[in-house]
Subunit: 82 residues, 2 copies
């Protein structure tokens, strides 16, 4: 069994109002040295793949087809044995 | 400037209906060796901290106070120079 850890992040050029809201909320709590906050998704997939390379290829395929929107989001996949 | 990469994940004992929905959606696309999907958040913080240790301490403080719900969520912080 393999665990694919997927990070889905907004591309740099895409505005992130949710991140801006979190930044303001943190500042209202007294955190005053924040230059920026960007919100993304962290998805953990448990895969019954044959080997690590297959698990990684499959997770990337899932990102391209469903987990990420390639127009506005980037993704990164890291696979570990679990 | 430091970049804190924060992963917020649901604790293992907490049900994740969103993850289950994503699992079913992936299966309907033909991905049939998925044992589980868990959805979490990936938050990127740009911090004007003095040093890496201060940036990490501050990011963890932000998690405890706002970014994560410690009753149902775990968090992990990784800090890199940016």
């Amino acid at each position: 069994m393999y665990e694919a850890q997927v990070r889905v992040t907004l591309k740099r050029t895409v505005a992130d109002p949710q991140g801006l809201t979190v930044k303001h909320a943190l500042e209202s709590l007294g955190f005053n040295d924040i230059a920026g906050v960007r919100m993304g998704k962290f998805i953990t997939l448990q895969l019954k793949a044959k080997d690590q390379a297959k698990a990684e290829a499959e997770a990337k395929d899932m990102c391209a087809k469903l987990l990420a929107n390639p127009i506005i989001e980037d993704y990164a996949v890291e696979v570990i044995k679990s």
